[in-house]
């Protein structure tokens, strides 16, 4: 296990290094370079030169990169000239709310998708399986912004049960109005359930076709016991890994949901930054999201290795 741990952590560090290189190069690829991107197209040549000198953009690339890494290690993700605030403080404000949104909806999705996948696998190719498979396909194929707006139309406009907009302000203010969280969480959860229940179904089906299941049935073990005791644990292992790996996908979904419900998280921050061409904010968020993804998949892999000894030796 130690050898695997060292190799896997080393790989994660290497990927994070690649991410920093990619993000670093993205700024330099901007048309007109970082000076024009940040100061705007109307900035004079002298202003740009002064800006480049001030921020060290006139130095050799390698030197800039070392400086960039040094700043990152000190927790400096850049400065938003459009919002006159450091990216770190913007992130500190928005990130807890996105974690709340993503955490709640992923938890809800997992709690519903696992039993749903089991049900579909046990009743495969029956009516109930077809119904949920059809629903999963439709929710997967439905643009998530439209799903959010349909829920708003139904529950906020027609029925008037829930607010159409997410609560504003800090994390505690958001938590003080939980009814505003229902629709955003439900939208993100529905899309995620569509995905996870498919994973769970095929993972259960694969386990149910294994020899040990046939042996258990031959020994006269009741079917519910075969499913709940023998196969469920084995079927959950790959699904847990997939949960860890789906973080970038869920974050993308959160961005759309946040823009539909005006939910003040990182997704809305990123979207606003994209509209204002606020590159420091975008690059800071890309970096944080990518590092979060790498750490997420590292944890998922380590959990996989802890649960399934075969992984460690390959």
């Amino acid at each position: 296990m130690t050898g695997y741990l060292i190799r896997r952590v080393g790989q994660a560090v290497l990927v994070i290094f690649m991410v920093t290189v990619i993000v670093f190069l993205l700024v330099r690829l901007l048309p007109g370079g970082p000076a024009e991107a940040i100061l705007g197209r109307r900035a004079t040549a002298a202003e740009k030169a002064a800006f480049n000198r001030l921020n060290g953009y006139n130095r050799p690339l390698l030197e800039q990169y070392v400086h960039y890494i040094g700043q990152l290690l000190r927790g400096n993700l850049g400065y938003s000239y459009k919002l006159s605030q450091s990216v770190t403080s913007l992130l500190g404000e928005a990130l807890p709310k996105t974690i709340l949104l993503v955490g709640l909806s992923t938890l809800l999705a997992a709690l519903l998708a696992v039993p749903l996948g089991i049900l579909q696998a046990v009743r495969r190719n029956r009516l109930i399986d077809y119904i949920f498979t059809g629903a999963a396909f439709i929710f997967y194929a439905m643009p998530s912004f439209w799903l959010g707006l349909v829920l708003i139309e139904l529950f906020a406009i027609n029925l008037g049960w829930l607010p159409s907009e997410a609560p504003q302000g800090s994390l505690s203010q958001v938590l003080a109005h939980p009814e505003g969280l229902v629709l955003p969480v439900a939208t993100l959860a529905l899309v995620t359930i569509a995905q996870f229940s498919r994973y769970m179904r095929s993972s259960m089906l694969e386990q149910l076709s294994q020899d040990y299941v046939r042996t258990a049935r031959a020994r006269g073990v009741p079917e519910w016991r075969v499913v709940m005791r023998h196969t469920l644990r084995n079927a959950l292992v790959p699904v847990v890994t997939l949960l860890g790996l789906s973080l970038p996908w869920v974050l993308g979904g959160a961005l759309v949901v946040e823009s539909v419900f005006n939910f003040p998280g990182t997704g809305l921050l990123f979207w606003t930054a994209a509209q204002n061409q606020d590159y420091p904010v975008m690059l800071g968020l890309v970096l944080v999201a990518a590092v979060g993804t790498v750490v997420g998949s590292l944890l998922a892999d380590l959990m996989y290795a802890a649960l399934d000894p075969r992984v460690r030796y390959t």
Partner: protein, 303 residues
């Protein structure tokens, strides 16, 4: 082990031989899948319908999509406008055909570009092995770690033309095929007939293009199918976020995101036609992709 066959060079795999056999097997497989799987047939029928609707439809159903008219705006569906008109007086059915053309073209172009590039990247990495492989695949891992929608918005904020949109979508979509094809290349690399090419002095690209790629064509085709569906959804989402297809051009996504601004006003005919068209098309491509993948893995198990 790369041992030359005992019955002489005449039996050595020729350049065209393997590729042709592989693709012939593929077509037989594809035919089998569609004959056996009803969902795949349904999916294919839906795709054919959509293509005819979008590309042949405008030839039969003539509408004026160039001029706007406020007098004709927001007419309910009736005999003269089967799906009503939009907020600038354009016929919705005609616009649905026109928008679908953009959606399908952008989806197909992005998927094909992404899969071709990804397949070559993966094959080169897997075939080269060693440091080249490690570096190439760490680049893929690094890009995969960045949520693709974030990268899309960043790149999308730089440009606005349709061709650039295709490239941007392709740029975030080549990673999955690169990983899949690399995995298959690793197992193909050690096979005798591929090693024989190297033994006979064939170059790296000859092996990759003539022998590796044709044998991964199944994976590649399945991947293109899913990528088209994903690309259509991505472009629709980008339209909603304000970075997709810009007027006067339209795709289903931009029609849908335009329509939903009238959600509270009850103009349902602006919302449901493009929305349902997106769902049907994406589901159809997923049906076909699922069936092809299952057929392919059945073939691999049978090997």
């Amino acid at each position: 082990m790369a041992v030359l066959p005992s019955n002489g060079p005449a039996e050595l795999p020729t350049d065209s031989g393997e590729g042709v056999t592989a693709s012939r097997q593929l077509w037989r497989l594809v035919l089998d899948v569609f004959l056996q799987n009803r969902l795949a047939t349904l999916g294919l029928a839906m795709i054919v319908f959509m293509v005819l609707f979008c590309f042949v439809g405008p030839l039969v159903y003539h509408t004026d999509q160039l001029h706007t008219s406020l007098q004709l705006s927001l007419i309910r569906p009736d005999a003269s406008h089967l799906l009503g008109t939009d907020d600038t007086g354009r016929d919705m059915l005609g616009r649905l055909m026109l928008g679908g053309r953009t959606s399908l073209e952008v989806g197909l172009a992005a998927a094909v570009i992404a899969t071709c590039f990804g397949a070559l990247w993966g094959a080169l990495a897997g075939f080269s092995g060693g440091v080249v492989d490690s570096v190439m695949m760490r680049i893929v891992d690094g890009l995969l770690a960045i949520p693709s929608l974030f990268l899309l918005l960043f790149l999308g904020s730089l440009t606005s033309s349709l061709a650039a949109l295709v490239l941007v979508v392709a740029l975030i979509s080549w990673l999955a095929p690169a990983r899949l094809v690399r995995g298959e290349t690793l197992s193909l690399r050690g096979l005798d007939y591929v090693q024989a090419v190297t033994v006979m002095g064939g170059g790296r690209w000859r092996s990759i293009l003539r022998h590796i790629i044709p044998n991964t064509i199944g994976t590649i085709v399945v991947n293109v199918t899913f990528q088209i569906a994903d690309a259509i959804l991505i472009v629709a989402t980008l339209s909603y976020l304000g970075l997709g297809v810009r007027p006067p051009a339209a795709d289903w996504g931009s029609m849908l995101s335009n329509g939903v601004t009238y959600t509270a006003d009850g103009y349902w005919w602006l919302v449901y036609p493009p929305g349902v068209a997106i769902i049907l098309t994406v589901v159809a491509f997923n049906f076909v992709g699922d069936a092809l993948r299952d057929g392919l893995s059945a073939r691999l198990h049978a090997r």
